[in-house]
Subunit: 321 residues, 2 copies
């Protein structure tokens, strides 16, 4: 009997990764192609689909394709679209799910990367069996996917789960979104870099980071310095954890999750970021929620989470009917 | 043929109101009894149940009781309990839903007042047909009920929807919950009173409220003064709207609702509170959400919303399963 599989696709600004994924979350035929250099989204989808068809052919009669799941920036689940993504070449509204459905006679669905990561965590990772949890992706920005009562929260317009754009301080740091003081300007790879530079200016703490220019500094360098005991780098993690903890306590007051998963570049700093975040989250949380909410690393660490999450999106669709 | 009805009960610190409610939300036999003065919750429930049985008898053979819905402070939907309610005589954990189910051979369910108001709004009020919305009750405190994807968000432990205890300023006003700077210390009947006294101290704005002592001041007096053009009272509404707008913008970033309903004492101030709240919410909202989220008064204004919401809770249960 043939094994049911789906294709999971992660569309990024530079590369698009994909794989064939079975119901247990096993990846096959992992590959990636450049996202840029096509004259239109149609050409891009045609080229990617051609390569996917080859991959499927390689697996022979043993698999039956059941769907195509896509993760992409600024994706709208309800509309099947990518809408005004600043990091992609294509402007305006792209009907991405429809384009893939035109190449494969199966259901296609799309959502943003953080939502895909949340569904991946629910089907294949640390959130298996959980009905209420939040996934926070700490990359260049801060993305989030909220699951409540076993369902991903898409909201009225498909854009729910923007915890990175909740406001820490309305007079705070300039955000790429045009406003000020959004959480992601503090709690993200770029946020901790800004915090380091603020501390370089406001404190006299000794630091090896005093030798580094703004453009040269990375979050990994801050981690490395902190691991070597650099006082300023440690203080930067403390600040980051305090503000992330504050806004996670707010998030808990909204949907009361069983766990919050931290994921992405900055989460790789491990205890450096988990410890202060957990401590401040508890500090700022309403009594009834204290000591209840687990702060966890992703259970999908060794896998291509973006591709797996995209595949999980469509597996979840097929499961729900 | 007999009409199906449920009993809706609103347990308050002083009085307990109840009514017989049909599937269309029509109330009959509205009545209320004192909540205090019973030796135990069991005695209270026995006495209330006796009166309800009388009411039902009065309706004769024409009605069939299908369930009992209860709204109460600190109620936990999952456990059917009232847990450590500071405003009730009974301490600890009261299995209130079970007590009523012992008197009536029908399903009983309980939730807190704001959640009940949200379900009432969904079944009988302005949220009919909406799948994503939030109800904010602006009373002595600030309560909230969040509906996402057509389901009330209860969270992992049944205590979700505590927007009143999201934090405006971790160094801000002392809250009854033991922390500082919770939204309800600013945006509620008691919050606007505190704001008036802060403005009396910090500004030189002329105001009739300079004649009133703290204990004598009510939110209604602030409204009345504002309606007469009192500059300080108007400024107090502006401040309240700014902070409520800020945190509602955060709430939108979580669940992206179609509408937010403002309800309760302070919401009766009408445009005085709606206008600044709407303006600041738009100001603080992420671009993708701007000009999408309706800020509305309750569609249940002329009814006993607490009782109707409690009845709606059980109607919603019966509908879903």
């Amino acid at each position: 009997m043939a094994t049911d599989v789906v294709i999971g696709i992660d569309i990024g600004g530079t590369n698009t990764a994909y794989a064939v994924v079975d119901r247990s979350g096993t990846l096959a035929c992992e590959s990636s192609v450049p996202t840029r250099g096509y004259r239109s989204p149609e050409e891009f989808v045609a080229a990617v689909s051609e390569r996917m068809r080859e991959s499927l052919k390689g697996l022979g009669q043993s698999v039956t394709l059941r769907g195509v799941g896509i993760g992409a920036p600024n994706a709208n689940y309800y509309n099947g679209t990518i809408e005004f993504a600043p990091n992609l070449e294509w402007k305006g509204v792209i009907k991405m799910a429809g384009l893939f459905a035109g190449h494969f006679p199966v259901p296609a669905a799309i959502t943003n990367d953080a939502n895909a990561a949340a569904i991946g965590e629910m089907l294949f990772g640390g959130a298996r069996g959980m009905k209420d949890f939040i996934v926070i992706t700490l990359g260049t920005g801060l993305g989030s996917g909220i699951v409540a009562g076993g369902q991903l929260v898409y909201g009225h317009d498909g854009f729910a789960g923007e915890i990175g754009h909740t406001i820490v301080d309305p007079d705070g740091r300039q955000c790429g979104c045009g406003r000020r003081g959004c959480l992601e300007t503090y709690a993200s790879a770029s946020g901790i870099k800004r915090t380091v530079f603020e501390l370089l200016a406001t404190s006299n703490l000794p630091s090896e980071l005093r030798e580094v220019a703004f453009t040269g500094l990375t979050a990994a360098m801050v981690s490395d310095a902190a691991l070597r005991g650099d006082p300023l780098a440690l203080e930067a993690f403390e600040h980051t954890g305090r503000l992330l903890g504050l806004k996670l306590a707010d998030a808990v007051a909204h949907t009361s999750p069983e766990a919050i998963f931290l994921f992405g570049g900055l989460a790789n700093a491990g205890e450096l970021i988990f410890k202060p975040t957990q401590r401040w989250m508890e500090e700022y949380m309403l009594n009834i929620f204290k000591n209840k909410v687990k702060l966890l690393p992703s259970g999908l660490k060794d896998k291509n989470v973006a591709v797996l999450g995209a595949a999980a999106l469509i597996w979840n669709e097929l499961k729900n009917g």
